[in-house]
């Protein structure tokens, strides 16, 4: 794989909404992607530096994302996390992004942009 895409490029190209506090996204690289709505699967399969795509928007995703040190969580289908979840993400340095696209679509677009599994 070529040089990994950085978050800035991904956010721009896919028109993602940033839900957490802004920061220098160009300094963060996405080394791969992992899609699952099951926390146990994500724990088992997602690696540090990956983008994690999920429809889940509840509090538990923040803890899992922080633990795995994923590059960012992309919440699909405009699922809306509540303020407590966003606050907790900011506290723990987890980036939450959002898109109206469903999992299948966003996976496809990322794949075609060159974000493959590492």
């Amino acid at each position: 794989m070529d040089k990994p895409m950085n978050l800035q490029q991904i956010i721009e190209q896919l028109d993602l909404t940033v839900l957490t506090e802004p920061r220098d996204f160009s300094a963060i690289e996405a080394t791969g992607g992992y899609t699952s709505d099951l926390l146990s699967c994500v724990m088992a399969g997602a690696k540090s530096g990956y983008l994690w795509m999920t429809l889940q928007a509840h509090m538990n995703i923040v803890a899992v994302a922080a633990l795995l040190e994923v590059a960012a969580v992309v919440i699909t289908e405009n699922a809306q996390p509540d303020q407590a979840t966003i606050d907790k993400a900011n506290q723990q340095g987890v980036i939450l992004l959002s898109t109206p696209c469903p999992n299948f679509e966003i996976d496809g677009r990322l794949w075609e942009m060159g974000v493959k599994k590492a």
């Binding site: 992992y34 709505d37 999992n103 996976d107 599994k117």
Partner: protein
Amino acid sequence: MNLKEIIEIVDGTLLNPQVDTNIEIRGGIGADLMSDVLAASQPDAILMTGLTNPQVVRTAQMADIRAIVFVRGKQPQEQTLAIATQENIPLITSPCGMFEGCGRLHETGLPSFESNVPSD
């Protein structure tokens, strides 16, 4: 896209060869939340999922999903296989993760069949 093509694209293995696999798949869905599939899918899609319980098959049946791909080489529970065979729904296991499987299928032109805007 014919199901047989899809099986090849995701390096899949058909788990219930008794069922009819000569079917047209019109779109793709990647999800582990069955309510999401029930809420937002369009008929005649293929579902990629990490879930292997019988609910996946029942969900597929209710939402008129034509085939199910289990990601990361997962094998379905025995009962899942039994229900799927009875309901004539092909079950496929693929070594791909959901991200890669959806990526590969999308790349060959299979559209997303999930919409956050209700279709009906």
